[in-house]
Symmetry: C2
Subunit: 254 residues, 2 copies
C-alpha cells in the first residue's frame, strides 16, 4: 500500500480486455481502451527509449511522444522523472539472473551474480547512473541484494561484513557500469573517436617521465585488458578480501 502503487488492478483489466478477441458482450461501442495510458505502458515506452538512446534520451516529452501524448499526461501515473527512472532501474534489475545458492560454489556464484549485474546494467546503456543517485530498494533490486547476502552467509562471511559488502559491491558494480557505458558511448561516434583516442594515447605517451615515473613505466599495464577483465579483477580483490574474513571457508558452520 505504501511502497508503491505497484500494479493497479484497473490497468490489468484494461489490458485483458484489450487482448481478448472482442466479444460483443455489452456494446463495445468503438474502442474500450482509447485512454490507454498506464504506469506499465509508460515504463515500457521509457525502457525502449532507454535502450536505444540511454538515460539522457529519456525525457518526459520523449516518452510521452512515444505514447503519442503530451508530457503532462505522464504525471497522472508517475510522480516525477526521478520516480520513473527508479522504476526503470528496477525493471533492469529484474533481468539479472539469480543463482540457486550452492554452499560449495559460493565464490563462483557471487562473482557470476555481480558480473551478470554489470552486464544487465550495460545492456541499458548508462542506466547505472540512476543506481548511484538513489538507494535501489525496488522489489527486483531487493531480490538481488537478498541473493547476494545469502551467498555471502553461505560462504561464512561474518554478518556485519556481509551486510557492508553488499553495499560496497553495489557501488563498485554501478561505478564500473557507468564507466563502461561512457566508453561504449564514446566508441559509438566512430568518426571523432579515433581522433580522441589517438590524442589521448599521444598525450599519455608524451607525459614527462621525470614527473610521473611510475605512471609512465606502468603505462602498458594501465591500458591493458578489456573493461570486463579489469572489473573481474576488482571483484576478485573484494571476494578474496571477504574470504579472508570468512569463519568457515565453505558451508555455514563456524
Amino acid at each position: 500500500m505504501f511502497y508503491p502503487r505497484t500494479v493497479s488492478a484497473s490497468n490489468r483489466i484494461e489490458r485483458v480486455e484489450h487482448d481478448l478477441p472482442e466479444p460483443p458482450w455489452r456494446t463495445p461501442r468503438k474502442q474500450p481502451a482509447r485512454r490507454s495510458l498506464s504506469r506499465e505502458a509508460i515504463v515500457e515506452a521509457a525502457m525502449g527509449v532507454l535502450r536505444k538512446e540511454g538515460i539522457d534520451g529519456v525525457s518526459m516529452r520523449r516518452v510521452a511522444t512515444e505514447l503519442s501524448t503530451g508530457a503532462a499526461s505522464l504525471y497522472a501515473h508517475v510522480a516525477n522523472k526521478d520516480e520513473l527512472v527508479e522504476l526503470l532501474f528496477d525493471e533492469v534489475a529484474g533481468e539479472i539472473p539469480l543463482p540457486e545458492p550452492d554452499p560449495a560454489r559460493w565464490r563462483e556464484q557471487v562473482m557470476q551474480l555481480w558480473v551478470d549485474s554489470r552486464a544487465a546494467l550495460l545492456r541499458y546503456r548508462d542506466i547505472a547512473r540512476a543506481a548511484l543517485g538513489s538507494v535501489p530498494f525496488g522489489p527486483n533490486a531487493l531480490r538481488v541484494t537478498e541473493t547476494t547476502l545469502q551467498l555471502l552467509r553461505l560462504g561464512g562471511v561474518p554478518e556485519e561484513a556481509a551486510a557492508w559488502s553488499a553495499d560496497v559491491v553495489g557501488l563498485y558494480v554501478s561505478a564500473s557500469a557507468v564507466e563502461g557505458a561512457m566508453r561504449a558511448q564514446r566508441e559509438e561516434g566512430h568518426g571523432q573517436w579515433d581522433d580522441k583516442a589517438r590524442q589521448t594515447r599521444e598525450f599519455l605517451a608524451a607525459l614527462p617521465a621525470d614527473r610521473f615515473p611510475v605512471f609512465v613505466s606502468l603505462l602498458p599495464h594501465l591500458m591493458s585488458g578489456t573493461e570486463e577483465e579489469r572489473f573481474r579483477f576488482g571483484l576478485e580483490l573484494l571476494v578474496s578480501g571477504l574470504a579472508a574474513l570468512a569463519t568457515g571457508p565453505r558451508g555455514a558452520d563456524p
Copy 2:
C-alpha cells in the same frame, strides 16, 4: 600544445602585470585589466558556486552572473561546460594531500590517501559525479594516481595488479563520494528528510521476512556504521586483497 590549452601564456602575463606595481612603461592609461575575464577567474567563480550549490548549481549562466557578464562570454576561455567541469575536478584533486611514500607504512599511507581523496571530493558536494563521467587526466589527478602507484609498488604489489587497482580504487572512491554527497544533500532539506527517512525505515521494517529472510535478519547491520566507516571497510577489503598478491609484504624486495 595539444592536451589542452593548459595555461595560456597570455593569462600568465596578465597576472604578472597585474601584480607588479604598475611601472608606467607605455601609457597604462586607466586600468589595463578592464577586460578581466580569464580562464582562471572562471574556474575560481565556478568553484565558489560548486562549493555552495553543488554541480547542478554550476551552470554557464550562473557562473557568468557571478562574474557579472553573460554566459556567451565564457566560451572564449572554455570550450564547453564539460571542459569547465574537468577543470573544476582537477582543481579539487589538487586539494588532496599527498604523502611522502614510506615503504614500511605503505598500507596505512595508501588507505589514508584514498580516504583523503574521498574527503576532498565530498568537500565540493557532488563533484565526484564528474569523475565517473570522464577519465581524469588533469595534472593534479595524475599526481594522485602517480602517488598511488608508487605506494603499491613499494608494497610489492605486482605491476599489472597495481595498475588495475588504481583504476578499481578510483571507481570505488568516486562512487562512494557520489553516494555520500547524495546523502548529505538529502540531510540538508531537514524538513522533509525526517519524513523520507522515517518512511524508508518503516518500509524496510515492513518487508516480508519470508521473501527476503537474510535481508531482514541483517537489517541492523545493513543500517549500522557511518558512511566513512563503511567506505573504509571496502578499502580494507581491497587492500587486503592486494596485500595477498604482494610478492614482498613490506618493502620493495621480493
